[in-house]
């Protein structure tokens, strides 16, 4: 089927198999490989992107369902002059990533979390990121990164 999806501000119209998942559309059709696949049960959150500004796990959305909608991936976060988004800057500054595989999904989930709750407490960050798994960091610095990105003092 033919789908039209606005990806990071660029409109893409492509013919894809009906069963194409959004994550595969992003990776294989749009050529944006930052969005990762870490599971087959919608459990890990590595594939998290924004769909019309709301975070979704793109491994559970059909490309067809995103037809006519706007998707943002981590590639679309930093400004065109390369300046990092506050969440990206904070992940780097707080060492919120190690191998980096969970990171695009984690950053997108954090962007969405901060849109809903601009000044979260550490516990609220922990609860908010429950659907995103990280095997490397023990989460401590991810929580710090989100707190930092919200403009609050990181005291740990």
């Amino acid at each position: 089927m033919k789908v039209s999806i606005e990806v990071n501000g660029r409109s893409l119209t492509e013919e894809v198999p009906d069963r194409t998942l959004l994550v595969h559309f992003l990776r294989d059709t749009a050529g944006l490989t930052a969005t990762n696949i870490g599971c087959d049960t919608t459990s890990c959150g590595a594939c998290t992107v924004l769909l019309d500004g709301e975070s979704v796990k793109s491994c559970t959305v059909l490309a067809a369902q995103a037809d006519g909608h706007a998707v943002t991936t981590v590639e679309g976060l930093s400004s065109s002059d390369g300046e990092l988004h506050p969440v990206q800057r904070a992940f780097r500054e707080q060492h919120g990533l190690q191998c980096g595989f969970c990171t695009p999904g984690m950053i997108m989930a954090s962007v969405s979390l901060l849109a809903d709750n601009p000044k979260p407490a550490r516990d609220e960050v922990r609860a908010g990121l429950e659907g995103n798994l990280c095997r490397c960091t023990g989460y401590h610095n991810i929580v710090s990164a989100v707190v930092d990105a919200s403009g609050q003092e990181v005291d740990r």
């Binding site: 198999p17 087959d40 981590v74 590639e75 191998c99 980096g100 595989f101 969970c102 429950e130 095997r135």
Partner: protein, 754 residues
Amino acid sequence: MSIVGTRVVRREDRDLITAGGTYVDDLRVEALSGAAHAVFVRSPIAHARIGGIDVSAAKEAPGVLGVFTAADLGLAPHPSGPLLEPWLAGDVVRYVGEPVALVVTEERYQLADAAELVDVDYEPLQAVATIEAALAGETLLFPDHGSNVVQVNGAKEFDDGIFGDCEVVVTQTILNQRVAPAPLEVRGAACVWGEDGRLTAWLSTQNAQMARGQLAAGLGVGEESVRVIAPDVGGGFGAKIGADPEATVLGWAARQLGRGVRWVESRSENLTAMTHGRAQRNTVTIGGKRDGTVLAYRLDVVQDAGAYPRMLLLPMLTELMAVGVYRFPKVETRSRAVVTTTTPIAAYRGAGRPEATAAVERAMDRFAAEIGLDPAEVRRGNFIRPEEFPYQSPTGASYDTGEYAAALDKALDAAGYAELRAEQQRRRAAGDPVELGLGIAAYVEITGGDGGGESGRVDIHPDGSVVAWTGSSPHGQGLGTSLAMLLSDQLGVPLEKITVRHGDTDEVPNAVGTFGSRSLQLGGSAIRQAAEEVIAQARELAADLLEAAPDDLELDAERGVWQVRGAPSSTVLSWAQVAEAAGGGKLSADVWFGGGAPTFPFGAHLAVVEVDTETGKVELRRIVAVDDAGPIVNPLTFRGQRHGGLGQGAAQALMEVVTYDEDGNPTTATLADYSFVTAAELPDFELVDMATPTDRNLLGVKGIGEAATIGSTPAVHNAVVDALSGRGVTHLDMPTTPIRVWAALEEARKGSAQ
């Protein structure tokens, strides 16, 4: 001021956070354009004879380029251990997930449809799903071997006499449950044979050079015919050491088809077919005096090796580290490894040492409880003392340096141990249904224990840039930043001008790679040695240029310039100028650091839990950790490694376990079933720093990658048992899930009612 020891944000991150890095499945390189896709057909049955495999329907499916079984391969068997593991099962399958066929298609979306059409006739055999069933030996996995026991090590017979002088003797069996390393990036590979007859394999591996050796041996070609490249690697935790058999089959298929082939497994495949870790049943016997002195310790290890013994080193490492941080006068150990119809076991973060620590730390608590002393007190009385180092342990390890009592005291002070104990008493007295539990673990581990060396090369170019190649192969540890910091410090060159490369066997032909927390101590020492050689070369060249004696020259490591000693105002030479004079386009040194004796990082962790005795729910409230791995190069990444280790170690105690039913069917084959710790279940970690150098390498450093995993599991485990100790519970196996806690309380209640 030196950059070493200061907090430097990682250079690795920019690409990872803006473009997501390049993992195997992200590769869009020219060589792989038009590559086919592959999937393994895997056994759904734990143990069965294969009556036949019909691939005819699969071959007709849309897009299919090839369907291959054991009959097609014609490769010499995979030499994985004392028993041969087939590349693809031909006669018998021995675990759910064992590969039996490979399907290759044009498009990724055609794989599943075609794979479903491969028709395998399985004639079921009895499963051997537990250590007990394996030891009973009613069904043998390898009848020709004559036993399910595949390795015996250590004491031939135990001597009960060693407990003769003891006033108190306690025996406890401690299960160290099977867990899944489960890196977030699953396994993947892409293989292409070039027109020159060489294979290029991109692999998600910790260890490109070892993978090259394994691929070459498996495919029956020379090592020079294989190039392995590790692109960004999404975690390894020991399970991505080298190349798994799947990579060799993939390389074979690429050659057979004359076409590039790529493979990425699914998470369910990863959880059933990537090696698992731990899986030991350890029985400890500990005896001593009522004043808390331990006189004798016995450790009896049974390792579940899974269906094919891939790493029988693990139980031996558990024996080697059996006594932990204690000066036990009499010690005996033995280990046996058995095969079961389950996924093969191999290294997982700590690989044999966490199991030793979990056993001895649980034993110390059991002993302390038996004599009615505080577990911290009993530990203090039995520590190896600072003046005893280097310490030759009775199991054959030579510990370098240690301050075990100091580490424990720091952890307890930081936590407010006395106050926590008082709170525990208050709650108990008040009959609070939510119990407080405190768990201590003091640990020592061995890093760089393979005793091998590592390669390092440093080039300085006439434009003043520095390029270093390391044989280590980081996959999230931030080693590239740490090595650049070491070089910057040593050469006086700013970080921006330094590049660190790794993970390509054509660029770094000789290496041992990353495992066992060896990278900084050995890889870092190699880089230091290479830089020293470059400095020595530069001194001669600069001496020529400045018409001075080499001994009169010095490198000003603040400014990165060469000058005549004591005459700082005279002419100075930059690295660029010296490199210019070197001829051959650069100054260069390529070394092998071979002096890498093992080192012994140590520490102490305190865990605080709350256990709701009405529901069995355990909440981890605090972890206070002292982890001493010698001098710290980059506190940022050092702390990050500790955080990760604490999280993974705590998760083993609390929730992680791979399970099978009695027929050997995995019951934790997806992330929906396998309990993976989330941010919501962990507390903020409280880290206390301590740094005792070693004299066993050029940097004085020890490894930190596994340390915090090793301490945190027993700390959290002990905390849960401690919380229940007032209610008659003396032991509880991991993971301490609500149902298990609740059942233990029920049992204790029944026991006290009788």
